[in-house]
C-alpha cells in the first residue's frame, strides 16, 4: 500500500473534483482538448523546474511511497501526473466558482 501513497493522493484529487463536472456541469472534461492546450505552458515549465530541483538536490522522492517508476531525469511518474491532475482540479474549481457566483473572468468573449 505504501508504494501507492502518492498515486492515491492524485486519485483523491480527481475524485473530490469530479462532482464539479458531473453535478455542476462545468464542462472542463467536456472541453479536454482546450484544457490540454491551456495546460501545456504550466506542464513544460514545472516539469523543467522539478528536473532542475532533482539535479540540484533541492528535493527527492520516497522510494517507499511511490511506484518506483522513474522517468529520464529521475522524476517519478506520479510527479509528472501531478502537473496534469492539479491544474485540472484548479480549472474545475475556477469554472465552478464562476458558475456558482456568476463572477466574470474577462475571457467570456
Amino acid at each position: 500500500m505504501g508504494h501507492l501513497t502518492y498515486l492515491a493522493l492524485l486519485a483523491g484529487c480527481l475524485a473530490v473534483t469530479a462532482p464539479l463536472e458531473l453535478v455542476l456541469r462545468v464542462r472542463v472534461y467536456a472541453r479536454w482538448r482546450r484544457f490540454l492546450v491551456a495546460v501545456l505552458p504550466e506542464f513544460v515549465v514545472f516539469v523543467a523546474w522539478v528536473l532542475y530541483a532533482i539535479a540540484q538536490g533541492h528535493w527527492d522522492y520516497s522510494a517507499a511511497r511511490t511506484l518506483g517508476v522513474r522517468l529520464p531525469g529521475g522524476i517519478p511518474v506520479e510527479e509528472v501526473l501531478f502537473f496534469l491532475v492539479v491544474p485540472l482540479c484548479a480549472v474545475l474549481a475556477f469554472e465552478a466558482v464562476r458558475k456558482v457566483t456568476g463572477w466574470t473572468a474577462g475571457d467570456e468573449g
Binding site: 501513497t5 502518492y6 493522493l9 484529487c13 473530490v16 472541453r31 482538448r33 482546450r34 484544457f35 492546450v37 491551456a38 495546460v39 501545456l40 505552458p41 504550466e42 515549465v45 514545472f46 523546474w49 532542475y52 530541483a53 540540484q56 538536490g57 533541492h58 528535493w59 527527492d60 522522492y61 520516497s62 511511497r65 511511490t66 502537473f83 492539479v86 491544474p87 482540479c89 484548479a90 480549472v91 474549481a93 475556477f94 466558482v97 464562476r98 457566483t101 463572477w103 466574470t104 473572468a105 474577462g106 475571457d107 467570456e108 468573449g109
Partner: protein, 115 residues
C-alpha cells in the same frame, strides 16, 4: 539558484505573464482569488500529506526554514505560480475561442469550433 530564489522568481514571472504578456489580468478579479482560496486549502492538505509522510524530502540548505503544515513556505509560492499560470493560460485560450465564436456569429459566417 536555491528553491527559495526560484519560487520568488516564479511568482514574479507569472504575475508578468498574467498582467502584461497574456493580459488576462486574473489577479485583478474576484473569481480568481476565490478560486485560489479554495485551491490553497486543498494544497495545504495535500502538501501536508506529501511532506508529512516524507513522500517528498527537501534539502534544508535550499530553504528559508519556516514550514506550514509540514511543507516549506516556498511550496506556497510554487503552488501560487502553478495555479496562476494554469488559469491565465486557460482564460487566454477561452478568450480566443469565445472571440472567434462571437466574430463568427457577427459576420454570419460558419461558427468556429467551441474546442
Amino acid at each position: 539558484m536555491s528553491y527559495s530564489a526560484l519560487a520568488v522568481t516564479a511568482v514574479v514571472a507569472v504575475l508578468v505573464v498574467d498582467l502584461a504578456v497574456l493580459r488576462t489580468r486574473l489577479v485583478t478579479r474576484r473569481v480568481f482569488w476565490a478560486t485560489y482560496a479554495i485551491v490553497l486549502v486543498f494544497q495545504l492538505l495535500m502538501n501536508g500529506v506529501l511532506t508529512g509522510l516524507d513522500v517528498v524530502v527537501y534539502d534544508p540548505a535550499t530553504l528559508w526554514g519556516p514550514r506550514i503544515a509540514y511543507a516549506p513556505v516556498e511550496d506556497l509560492l510554487f503552488g501560487f505560480a502553478m495555479v496562476t499560470l494554469t488559469l491565465a493560460s486557460w482564460a487566454a485560450v477561452n478568450r480566443r475561442a469565445n472571440t472567434a465564436a462571437r466574430r463568427g456569429r457577427d459576420t454570419d459566417t460558419r461558427r468556429s469550433s467551441t474546442r
